[in-house]
């Protein structure tokens, strides 16, 4: 659905879009009335708990549940045998939900119990005997790729390599993107820099652990209450893994306490359903924080080599990158997104990126906000920073000289339509932050970032109530304020007040299929569907007015909340408001509703430029972020406060990733820091107020010009912070996190090199 012909975003006056009304879920969330995953209960409810492997890699010789089954209060025990095998698309999902012949990481589920209390369930877990044969393990991506590394899957033959390897390895696949011939490009360069980088795995760090309440009756009908980013996905996957008809499982999405991509798959949901089916009673299953760290889906760790050539006047002649991601125990790391996005900010004649998807004995990675892009941007933008310094060019100027624009052939293939990178770079250069003086031991870093954004399958219903208010049902869980944005859009189209529209996230039996809330797609595609549903409703409202007036439906127009005759020729009638028409709907043809079912295309890519000032304590290596500014293209900001919140949230998570967050594995392959004490996300006092600038370069693929904003904001911070810390420390940091011991060691090593 293209940009509305009548909308010139520079001049168009929206009535409501672009304003900042109060969020509809605000009161519930601050008073505690909002119901999250663990807030549901049911009569006769049991407590579910999962037994997890303490070993990084072990063959499961046998599982003896007989003692646990005899414990009073234990109502059901499930193992892998309780799930339906055979769906090839869900093979790895099932392996991850419940181990079969091997436990592949510390925390891998091997059995589960449902009991009358948490204490009984815990006791029962201790009575389950698992006979493990401990196998050698590997958790580092480079180690896992070496010949002789312990192989996780005997049938893993690297895909997309000619000729196909004869031996199994931990390399699931290879991918390659680009155009031109980098060797020619590097010959044209005055300066070529090649560097290697590493980043550790991080967790999305959502505050709400995975939680659900499952109930399957003896008639095979099931219900599931769950915190998830995609309840239709949960329904379809669980139905398949349990051998149920999709129609027999109704899934309701709870309020969600953060997801950031981590709640786009199933972990505990099929287990809770299997337990409930076996026990014949509802089962509530809630992960502990430790389980969240050990057994949900953190992001990939990465090892990368980047090479870029420039001329003395700052033209990039070629860029290459080889990137290696480990995505845990199963194939599917976001290495393709990493390889595609590495040079997506730049207009290059010669570019090539190669990626390797590698498995290790770690939990299966899940999406994390712009999956794959932040790490690769860290590598590429670090090298650009070094090049700019070496040729004596302002880092924004270097990026402006090479920035992708409308018509640029992207490094991953397609030609860009209208995009806003140059606008972002110029806004960053104009910002007072860019010229502000720095204090002692401080450095400034800037970096650009790109994300694809996504559209996808969407279905909404808009019902006009008898009093002229409107009930809007959407199928995309609200993870970033979408209910407020959807109300604004519906009210804008209908010409009524924001408070007259109430949006809910409907359960899976109330609407057609909706893709997950992911890929920064909701404001774009659900918003697009709401526009169409509202226009469907206004057409019907006009038809009712026409009927009332006894004129032809096409002689009525909808304007600012009123049906009016299209012209004086159509007749002279007093305009009818939405409320007027709603009141008499029963006698003019029945209920009035608008619908839209769409596979939304035309999601516009988006770009951001971040800048930050870091201060380094040269005696301890401690890093403090003193100032941070985000500039990002939103296309059109529907609710600017939420857009700013997304910008700030991405920056905050990126700062944590850059400075302190990491999965720490011991020599035994066990996760050493499965809690918020030693997995250090930033606390409020670690961060400055994050300044934001919303750039609006309309997306030609959306009626209002909207682009997704949720993910791009986490792409530049790793690089921006690394560039700032490197400037402050006087030495280039090429591994994340830049935790104090690493920064201090780099400072001391540089000092001893100098002396």
């Amino acid at each position: 659905m293209p940009l509305d012909a009548t909308i010139d975003p520079a001049t168009h006056k929206f009535a409501l879009v672009g304003t900042r009304p109060l969020r509809p879920d605000g009161i519930d969330k601050v008073t505690g009335r909002a119901r999250f995953g663990a807030d549901a209960s049911a009569p006769g409810m049991l407590v579910g708990k999962i037994l997890r492997s303490p070993h990084a890699h072990a063959r499961i010789r046998a599982i003896d549940t007989s003692k646990a089954a005899k414990l009073p209060g234990v109502k059901a025990i499930v193992t892998r045998a309780d799930f339906k095998e055979g769906d090839p698309g869900l093979r790895d999902v099932l392996h991850n939900v419940m181990a079969r012949d091997k436990a592949l990481y510390d925390g891998h589920a091997v059995a589960a119990v449902a009991a009358t209390s948490a204490a009984v369930a815990r006791k029962a877990l201790k009575l389950i005997r698992v006979d493990y044969e401990i196998l050698p393990h590997v958790t580092d991506v480079d180690e896992a790729m070496k010949p002789g590394a312990p192989v996780l899957h005997a049938d893993m033959i690297t895909a997309n390599v000619e000729p196909a390897p004869k031996k199994a390895s931990n390399i699931a696949s290879r991918c390659e993107f680009g155009h031109g011939d980098p060797e020619i490009g590097f010959k044209q360069a005055d300066l070529v820099i090649a560097r290697s980088f590493k980043t550790e795995a991080t967790h999305q760090g959502y505050i709400e652990p995975h939680a659900c309440l499952a109930s399957v009756g003896s008639d095979g009908q099931g219900e599931l209450w769950v915190c998830t980013q995609g309840h239709y996905m949960v329904r379809n996957q669980c139905a398949s893994l349990l051998g149920m008809d999709v129609s027999k499982l109704r899934v309701t999405a709870s309020e969600i306490g953060g997801g950031f991509g981590g709640k786009t798959t199933v972990f505990i949901e099929p287990v809770a359903l299997a337990l409930s089916r076996k026990a014949g009673r509802p089962v509530k299953l809630v992960m502990s924080r430790e389980e969240v760290f050990r057994a949900s889906g953190p992001t990939s760790s990465a090892s990368m080599d980047v090479k870029i050539g420039v001329t003395k006047d700052g033209r990039i002649t070629a860029g290459t990158a080889e990137i290696r991601f480990q995505g845990g125990a199963f194939a599917g790391s976001p290495v393709e997104f990493g390889a595609m996005s590495a040079f997506a900010c730049y207009d290059l004649e010669h570019v090539k990126t190669v990626g390797y998807d590698v498995v290790t004995n770690r939990p299966k990675q899940a999406a994390y906000r712009a999956p794959g892009a932040p790490m690769v941007a860290f590598a590429v933008e670090s090298v650009l920073d070094e090049l700019a310094k070496k040729i004596g060019m302002d880092p924004i100027e270097l990026r402006l000289k090479n920035a992708a624009k409308e018509g640029t052939r992207s490094s991953y293939g397609p030609k860009y339509k209208r995009i806003g990178l140059i606008e972002c770079l110029e806004a960053a250069r104009r910002h007072p932050h860019y010229k502000a003086p720095l204090g002692p031991n401080q450095g400034r870093g800037i970096a650009a970032g790109f994300w694809f954004n996504f559209g996808g399958q969407t279905c909404v219903s808009l019902n006009v109530n008898v009093d002229g208010t409107v009930a809007l049902a959407v199928g995309t869980p609200d993870i970033g304020g979408s209910r407020a944005s959807m109300c604004l859009i519906a009210a804008e189209e209908l010409g009524i007040g924001y408070e007259q529209v109430r949006a809910i996230v409907a359960d899976t039996s109330s609407l057609g299929y909706n893709d997950i809330s992911e890929g920064s797609r909701v404001t774009f595609s659900t918003g697009l569907a709401v526009i169409q549903a509202a226009r469907d409703a206004t057409a019907k409202l006009c038809a009712r007015a026409a009927k009332t007036w006894g004129i032809a439906p096409d002689a009525v127009v909808w304007e600012k909340g009123y049906a009016k005759p299209a012209s004086p020729n159509a007749g002279s009638f007093a305009p009818l408001s939405l409320a007027d028409i709603a009141k008499t709907a029963g006698s003019t043809g029945g209920p009035i509703a608008g619908h839209c079912e769409v596979n939304a295309e035309g999601a516009g890519v988006s770009f951001a430029v971040h800048m930050t000032d870091a201060e380094v304590d040269r005696e301890t290596g401690r890093v403090e972020i003193k100032r941070y500014t985000v500039v990002q293209d939103a296309g059109k900001a529907i609710h600017p406060s939420y857009v700013e919140g997304q910008y700030q949230g991405g920056a905050a998570q990126g700062i944590g990733w850059a400075i302190n967050e990491e999965y720490v594995y011991g020599r035994d392959g066990r996760l050493q820091n499965p809690g918020f004490l030693d997995y250090r996300i930033p606390v409020a006092s670690d961060l400055p107020m994050i300044d934001t600038v919303i750039v609006e370069t309309p997306n030609p693929g959306h009626p209002y010009g909207v682009r997704g904003v949720g993910e791009t904001s986490i792409v530049p911070p790793l690089a921006a912070v690394a560039n700032a810390v490197s400037a402050a420390a006087g030495v280039r940091l090429s591994e994340l996190p830049m935790a104090p011991p690493r920064v201090l060691a780099a400072i001391d090593a540089a000092a001893s090199r100098r002396s």
Partner: protein, 286 residues
């Protein structure tokens, strides 16, 4: 699990000395409850000491202070005289956790949890504090540095409870300070901690000093060599550098998820030097 809340120390000792399997004292519970909830321990008996007279009060005693073992961090922070006399001890106790934690967490619990990284302990050791211990054989006093012996282990015998912590009378021209190194700004655990207490004569020469380090050994350690570096000096730059070197030399840390050996050894010296500067300024009345 049995829960008891006796009103006398004698009754608490009797319960703790009883035959029950694992018995644990509950003061603020900010360590104990976490350990229970994460399934690390499953005590058979919990003895809550908060209802015992004197456990929750701060009393001045021959010029010093007797702090009940169950006095919360918030209560310490609100005690003006204590803050004036021992600012380093109070700031160390107040660094633990958040505001919510401060309303529960106690120095008695921090001491008996026996973590090498306990924030209040290096400050107490530097201050020359003693623990009053009550047990089946009556009361005894023990220097604070002798309470913990290893991570999670104390020298307390079966049935013994720390009843109070006693801080000595403060000499004029004295100051103390505690600094910890954490990667974040709060809500974190010390990677290294350093407590320094010192006293100056009328000419500004240091006559007494104690230096203690946390998270660099199996328990909080007193570093006499670091104190010697200060005594007899005006706490000038050279003395501070000697102090830092002595502090680093005393470390016997491990590599772990929170930091490397090398890092801890270096930062221990840096923090001891910085803490000594603050203690000096306080002693000088600045």
């Amino acid at each position: 699990m049995r829960y008891e809340a006796p009103t006398t120390a004698k009754e608490a000792v009797r319960l703790m000395a009883g035959k029950a399997g694992m018995a644990r004292v509950l003061a603020g519970g900010t360590d104990l409850l976490v350990q229970i909830r994460t399934d690390r321990i499953a005590p058979d008996l919990i003895v809550d000491i908060k209802r015992i007279a004197g456990m929750r009060s701060i009393m001045t005693k021959s010029g010093g202070f007797r702090i009940g073992a169950a006095v919360s961090g918030a209560e310490l922070g609100e005690h003006k005289a204590l803050r004036r006399a021992w600012p380093g001890v109070v700031e160390a106790a107040n660094l633990i956790g958040s505001i919510q934690i401060q309303s529960r967490a106690t120095m008695g619990g921090n001491l008996c949890n026996a973590s090498p990284a306990a924030d209040s302990v290096p400050a107490l050791v530097a201050a020359g504090a003693t623990a009053v211990i009550v047990g089946p054989r009556g009361r005894r006093s023990l220097p604070v540095e002798d309470v913990a012996v290893a991570p999670g282990r104390t020298s307390l015998k079966k049935g013994e409870i720390v009843e109070a912590i006693v801080l000595p009378k403060r000499a004029p021209r004295s100051g103390d300070a505690y600094l910890r190194f954490i990667p974040r700004s709060e809500m974190d655990i010390a990677v290294v901690g350093a407590g320094v207490s010192l006293t100056l004569d009328r000419n500004g020469v240091c006559t007494a000093a104690r230096v203690a380090l946390g998270a660099v050994a199996e328990r909080v350690i007193l570093v006499p060599d670091a104190a010697k570096a200060l005594i007899g000096s005006t706490v000038d730059q050279a003395a501070l550098e000697r102090l830092a070197a002595a502090a680093s030399a005393a470390c016997r840390p491990i590599d772990d998820k929170r930091g490397t050996k090398k890092f801890r050894i270096k930062v221990a010296g840096v923090l001891a030097r910085r803490a000594a500067r603050t203690a000096l300024a306080r002693a000088q009345g600045k």
